[in-house]
């Protein structure tokens, strides 16, 4: 009860209004119109995962109820129904393995230093701690280096990326990993600031996510013969024809903290308050079916949940980077191998890092909208889609005012690794097709999308980001194949998909450092691949009247050279369902890219001979390592390379 009161107290006025709307919908379903009995179903489930080297990574217990009630005809509409999905879960990992993922997680850390091997957090160059090997090192007068060790003690932390790779001469810093009510360091207000209870009970948050869906569905037969369908409320609106990849399926953001990219999208889409109005024209002289859908998402903006530092599932480990880097901004931090590419350096508060996240508040301008024309022409299913929305992924924009570590001066410093998180507006234009090829007895699915307004990290730009149009596509092929020696009567499903992404305004070049052959100097510019491809292959069979279904799902990122293979077996017995999955990662894992240590934001103090030769200009000379930008090359599969798991799920449906 305490938990609930806390959440209701903190929810925004908009959320209260939408909650009232939800209440009204539920009330409508109990009105005198509602003669039909409600359809209630659901499940209870335990999902347990064990991860290599980390132990228990999930012990999630879920109760989900699905509610549907027809209330008949209302206000000119037919078949009006109120539909709801309510989900409550408790993840016991924060109690059962709390020294890895909970209130006791983390430890005192050492940060790599090329001169001394390593130094404790807070004892790098600029430290005033007499125990620091750099104590008394000569520094410019007026410098403001030095970690606020009182606010940022060496405890409850890990080294950025330590679960995937060694620092290996690159940059790293401490990442606080305890829940934000236990340790508020690095918690980004309104974006990544979950308390222990919000981690344990992930639906009980300011967004009232225990109301997973609650919407009214109504239809009206228009005089023209068109069927008009209206869905209003908190809902998922699903576009597209492919599995796993979100080329057109972008209306709802996604909660990657649940199980990275491996849960069904149905379970990890974040439902939003929205209106979907659809005119179903049916067949005409040309099309077998043609429909127009208009969508307006009037909810407050919600980004993807990437998982925060300290959560078991944090896609790209971005949450750790953000948390550690926000801590740098707030309290200062020790950065590995920084000064001269060798000395662990104690930056002070307000010098480098992430200042804050500008999560857009509600306004009409911040809502999302779009349309879809979908139909069937001869044997081809097709759609044309357009959607304008705020990016569900964060963009780190440099060019904010920060303090010069060596002079104490506040200004906007080009190429300084000091950022605000923004969510720019993106416009997407796309389409999809599906068709069946009789000659090869296969069904094909195609999706493509062209977006404008996306932002990418770019060390060639003074603000360290740039905008680019992006073209994405997915081609999927489904084929049923009999292998009668192992299953005489039931075909196996083989489903192959390839996802492609092309960044049109991509910028990448050899750095000046690599031009002269310096080790650890490489490419500069945009770490994301200009062209990249991820393929998936599903091989699935069924036995015992479909009650036993083993499958192998593989995914491979061709440029990251990282993959995952996930054999699983699914067994249904009455109302019980048991699923056992091994999620095994393989391949290169972490990737390197320039980290902007040699960007010379504070000339002349940070200048290399390359910068001096250019008159003290700021630019990226190309020294790099795994962190932080290598994650964009490793991708979500490569960054989870050390997260192989054994996953067991028990479900009882009712």
């Amino acid at each position: 009860m305490k938990v609930r009161l806390h959440y209701f107290k903190n929810i925004s006025v908009f959320k209260k209004k939408t909650a009232l709307l939800g209440g009204a919908l539920l009330l409508a379903s109990t009105s005198s119109y509602a003669n039909e009995p409600a359809d209630i179903s659901g499940f209870i489930e335990n999902a347990t995962s064990v991860r290599e080297d980390r132990g228990l990574s999930k012990f999630r217990n879920t109760l989900q109820l699905e509610y549907s009630k027809n209330i008949g005809n209302f206000a000119g509409f037919n078949d009006v129904s109120i539909n709801g999905t309510f989900r409550a879960s408790y993840d016991g990992v924060y109690d059962l393995n709390d020294d890895e993922f909970g209130a006791k997680a983390g430890r005192a850390i050492n940060i790599e230093d090329q001169n001394f091997g390593s130094v404790p957090h807070g004892q790098g160059l600029g430290s005033t701690n007499p125990d620091s090997p750099y104590f008394g090192a000569p520094l410019p007068p007026g410098h403001v280096l030095g970690v606020n060790i009182t606010n940022n003690p060496n405890s409850g932390m890990i080294v950025l990326g330590e679960n995937l790779h060694a620092t290996n001469g690159g940059v790293a810093f401490g990442v606080p990993v305890r829940p934000c009510d236990v340790d508020s360091r690095g918690c980004i207000n309104g974006y990544m600031d979950k308390t222990e209870n919000e981690l344990r009970f992930s639906e009980f948050n300011d967004n009232l996510d225990f109301i997973r869906e609650l919407y009214m569905d109504a239809s009206m037969d228009l005089d023209s013969g068109t069927l008009f369908n209206l869905k209003v409320g908190k809902q998922q609106i699903v576009w597209g024809r492919t599995d796993l990849f979100r080329v057109l399926d972008i209306i709802n953001p996604v909660d990657f903290s649940r199980n990275n990219i491996y849960d069904e999208l149905e379970d990890i889409r974040i439902p939003l308050w929205s209106i979907a109005a659809e005119w179903q024209y049916g067949a005409n002289e040309t099309f077998d079916d043609i429909n127009l859908q208009l969508v307006w998402v009037f909810d407050e903006f919600r980004p993807n949940n990437l998982g925060q530092g300290g959560e078991p599932n944090a896609i790209l480990d971005a949450g750790s980077f953000f948390r550690g880097f926000n801590n740098c901004w707030e309290n200062g931090c020790t950065v590995a191998n920084f000064a001269g590419g060798a000395a662990a350096t104690d930056f002070g508060p307000g010098q480098i890092g992430i200042r804050h996240a500008n999560v857009p508040s509600w306004s009409v301008d911040n809502t999302s909208y779009g349309f879809k024309i979908e139909g069937v022409y001869q044997d081809i299913g097709f759609s044309v889609n357009a959607f304008s929305y705020l990016s569900q992924l964060p963009s780190l924009r440099g060019g904010i005012e920060a303090t010069n570590s060596f002079t104490g001066e506040k200004d906007v410093w080009p190429y300084l690794i000091a950022f605000d998180i923004e969510f720019p507006r993106i416009n997407m234009f796309g389409g999809s097709l599906d068709f069946y090829s009789e000659s090869i007895d296969s069904a094909f699915r195609v999706e493509s999308a062209y977006t404008t307004g996306e932002e990418f990290a770019n060390t060639l730009k003074p603000r360290l980001f740039s905008e680019s149009d992006v073209f994405r596509w997915v081609l999927g092929v489904d084929k049923n194949i009999f292998i009668r020696s192992i299953n005489a009567n039931k075909a196996f499903l083989v489903s192959f998909q390839t996802f492609g992404q092309h960044i049109l305004d991509h910028e990448l070049e050899q750095s000046i450092g690599s031009d002269v052959g310096l080790p650890s100097f490489g490419f500069v510019g945009m770490p994301d691949w200009k062209d990249n491809y991820i393929s998936t292959l599903l091989f699935k069979g069924w036995w015992l009247n479909d009650s036993l279904s083993p499958q192998i799902l593989t995914a491979y990122d061709w440029r990251a050279k990282s993959g995952v293979i996930a054999p699983s077996i699914d067994w249904i017995k009455g109302n019980f369902r048991f699923t056992l999955t091994a999620n095994i990662k393989f391949g290169d894992g972490a990737k390197e890219f320039s980290d902007c240590r040699t960007c010379n934001p504070f000339n002349p103090f940070t200048a290399t001979p390359f910068h001096t030769a250019e008159g003290g200009a700021s630019f990226d000379a190309g020294l790099g390592g795994f962190e932080p930008l290598g994650r964009f090359r490793a991708g979500p599969i490569g960054m989870a390379n050390k997260e192989s798991e054994l996953q067991v799920t028990f479900r009882y449906s009712f």
Binding site: G240, D243, D478, A488, A491
Partner: protein
Amino acid sequence: MKIFNKIKYAVAISAMAVLTANATKVDEAIEKSFYPYKNGFPNVENIKPGLVITKDNVDIAKDVLDPEMIQHIKDGWVEITVDKSTDFILNNSYIEATKNNVGKVKLPEEKGNLQGGYIAGRPFPEEPQLDDPRAGEKLAWNFQFGYNWGDGAAIDPFYWRYRNMNSNKVERELKFDFHFLNWAHRVNHEPLPEINPNPSELFRSIYVHVEEPYDVKNTQLLIHRYQNDLKRDNAWLYLGFQRRVRRLATGQVTDSFLGSDLMIEDFEGYNGRISDMNWKYLGTKSMLLPFYNHNEQALTDEFKEKDGYKFVDFHGKGGCFPNVTYQLRKVYVLESSPIDSNHPISKRRHFVDAQTFTLPRTIIYDRAGKYWKSWMIGQAHPDHHLAINKGSGVSIDDSFGMMDVQAMHCTTGQFKGIVDPDLNEPKMFNVQYMRTSGK
């Protein structure tokens, strides 16, 4: 000149006489096709109403039951109660359409579409002949363009149970609603004879929606069959847990449907293109088939319906046999064998009810030619069923049992068939409807 005129008149009179004779012959053929019991029901020695065929007396029924059913009775798997035969007269509009269009179509030279512009009705009402090598094909077309569920009907609800024949346990229960719509060759409900626009020239659509259990809830299946018999069906599956429509590859229509003992191709006895099979007519017999008056059967009230409707019960080995009475019927024995060598079966032997052209009994053989499945579809008289079905002239599919005798497993179906065009509006039979109504 007079002589010439006489000859002319004589020729004209003779021609008219031939035409009249032919017309009479055709009328008789149609009459015989739709009213085969006008001169009485089949009479077979020892097979009388009230007879219960058990393992002890099954030999008396060896000529009126298929060998596989005889064996099941001998094995004590089931007992069959005989009731009196009844007329299942199809809707008059279908009979009239047959009369209006008779003789206008003929078989194609090879596989393909009927030649001559088929409109509606039974395309080949004449009695099949054993010396006609294509008699089987004609029977298949009569089934394909049969009155079946009329111009459209629904089965709602439709309970399927997966049963273990060894343990007698029900392993799984699914609750569906099925909907059928004829886009073309319609005879009864406006618009006639075709719903327009129909740009892809659809013949028939089947829409299936799963209501229970939870793990397959909201799964939907849509099948479009085209007037062009050489064109493959299109099929789409909406998966509730994905909220996506997936186009099905054709291979999936010969797969187990949702883990049951049926493949999509088994629906209604045979659910596919005529050109996918070789058809062979094997003869005409009097046989016992599950035709009955629903309201007079031993029904079960285990599923509650607000209107008090009760479903057919099951009995016998594993509870796999509809507990209904059988009656002597005029039957065409028809064999179909797949043209595709990769097809999971080698042949089906259909026992076609001559009056209704339904397929109440089919035996299915595996690729090796061994007996694999026993397919029974109970046919209920529309005048002894739901009030709305009275006078519909539809032989109502009312119960089914599909036994996999190799796996000792069966799937049973309990129907609430409703012949009501309002439940089967064209808007239901498009892909977008699946997305909209999915969740």
